[in-house]
């Protein structure tokens, strides 16, 4: 019963996933609840603030939906990166089994985070629809493409951060320091048309800002982004993944023996 390399990888990722799910959600009883409650609460707070300052709609979109369309992808991304960064290190003792390659735990966590994101997104938007909002995206395919590109960029960065982690264990702390201000420049509670044109350059370097912009463009018929660029996102995804895989290849031995 010789298995192909791909089957071995599939079995390994399955085994890792069972293990990971158990420690992630099984240990604390409210594990699944927080995955939902955290972004929902954040959206609620932000939309309450904006409603209190006297705005009911932003660019013709209800405030709550506008916020959610920015918060949910950002939450996903800011959760994905630390998870991927630590993935190899957290599972290093399992590399004693030659079936387990260093990239397997990374793939496992990618699957888990992505699936959680989709479930959370659908559930929260369904809840909003139930309350009475019109939540159906105008262009679902473009929205999915933006999500996919965001995931790909996260994967590339995650691969790089794994390598960084193998050299320097404090990597997650630095990552956290960088990710905190990212919240304010990723267009979560504003969009490009609310910012004077001469300041766009402060934001357009940031791929996450492009993801938010393009997601809203796809989501809302009334919004057309003046800056979001698919080409920039695709180039970023390509470059980060190429670099990430390169670093992975170079550091393969370190992952296993460290």
């Amino acid at each position: 019963m010789a298995r192909t390399s791909l089957q071995v990888m599939r079995d390994t990722v399955f085994a890792l996933m069972m293990r990971e799910l158990k420690t992630r959600f099984g240990a604390r009883k409210l594990g699944y609840f927080w995955a939902l409650a955290e972004p929902a609460a954040q959206a609620l707070i932000l939309s309450t603030i904006f409603t209190l300052v006297g705005r009911n709609t932003l660019t013709g979109v209800p405030v709550a939906i506008f916020m959610l369309s920015g918060i949910l992808p950002y939450k996903f991304f800011s959760k994905l990166l630390p998870q991927l960064t630590a993935s190899v290190h957290a599972n290093r003792s399992l590399f004693a089994y030659r079936q387990v390659a260093p990239i397997d735990p990374l793939i496992t966590r990618l699957f888990i985070e992505f699936a959680t994101h989709i479930v959370v997104y659908v559930l929260i938007m369904s809840a909003m629809a139930w309350i009475g909002y019109d939540v159906w995206p105008e262009d679902l395919l473009s929205l999915l493409l933006a999500t996919l590109l965001l995931t790909l960029i996260g994967t590339g960065l995650g691969l790089m951060l794994c390598s960084a982690m193998s050299h320097w264990e404090d990597t997650p702390k630095v990552l956290q320091m960088v990710m905190t201000p990212m919240f304010f420049v990723s267009g979560i509670f504003f969009c490009a048309t609310m910012v004077p044109q001469q300041y766009w350059y402060l934001l357009t370097w940031n791929p996450i800002f492009h993801v938010t912009e393009l997601s809203r463009d796809a989501y809302f018929a009334s919004y057309t982004t003046p800056v979001g660029s698919w080409a920039f996102l695709m180039a970023t995804a390509l470059v980060t993944n190429a670099l990430g895989l390169m670093l992975y290849q170079v550091n393969r031995q370190r992952f296993i023996s460290a």
Binding site: M1, A15, R19, L94, A96, Q99, V100, S257
Partner: protein, 224 residues
Amino acid sequence: MISFVGMSKFYPTKQGRSYVYKDVNMELPTDKSIGVLGPNGAGKSTLIRMMGGADMPSKGKIITDKNVSWPLGLQGGLQGVMTGRENVRFVARIHGYRKTHIIEQQVEEFAEIGRYFDEPVKTYSNGMRARVAFGLSMAFDFEFDLLLIDELNAVGDANFKLKSTALLKKKMDRTKVIMVNHSVGQLKTFCEAGLLVKDKSLIYFENLDDAVREYNDTYVTAKN
């Protein structure tokens, strides 16, 4: 047959590369069980780990078409934070089993560690670890062609030693072992051939006694 092709292993140290193996080229026959001999720090465990795929040669390759086990020993293999049962499940899964109940049960019965089977492995004693690790490697209903054992049965109590020896002997007509053990007596129980680690290389002896003699000539200097 296990082929070593230009295999080198070194560790970077402050004084430069410290070679454990340097450019090893050999074909290791696997029709007999092999006892690995060498002094402390010669690279016996490293060899076992590399053959089991838990470590990689710095240069060159180790190639085989045999079904080789993971390195069974006290160092690696079992995950401290997972329970014995979870470890068994994990290993069964990465070997392609989806239904792990039978294997879990077999290991539980062999290990005889009672309710500790559902406690994290880091709470185990060395002997308990050895029981689970050994039971696990024996539980698969497909058999390994080669079992890599690194000082594993050195820690068990009398009961475990008898039990594991009996079980291993029963499997010996199909499964050969490559074993590291500092007790020559233990090696002689299981192995016919010997492999000596010498001069950052490997020497194979068809007969374990020859290997032991060579080992004594080379390394045991404190003769009375």
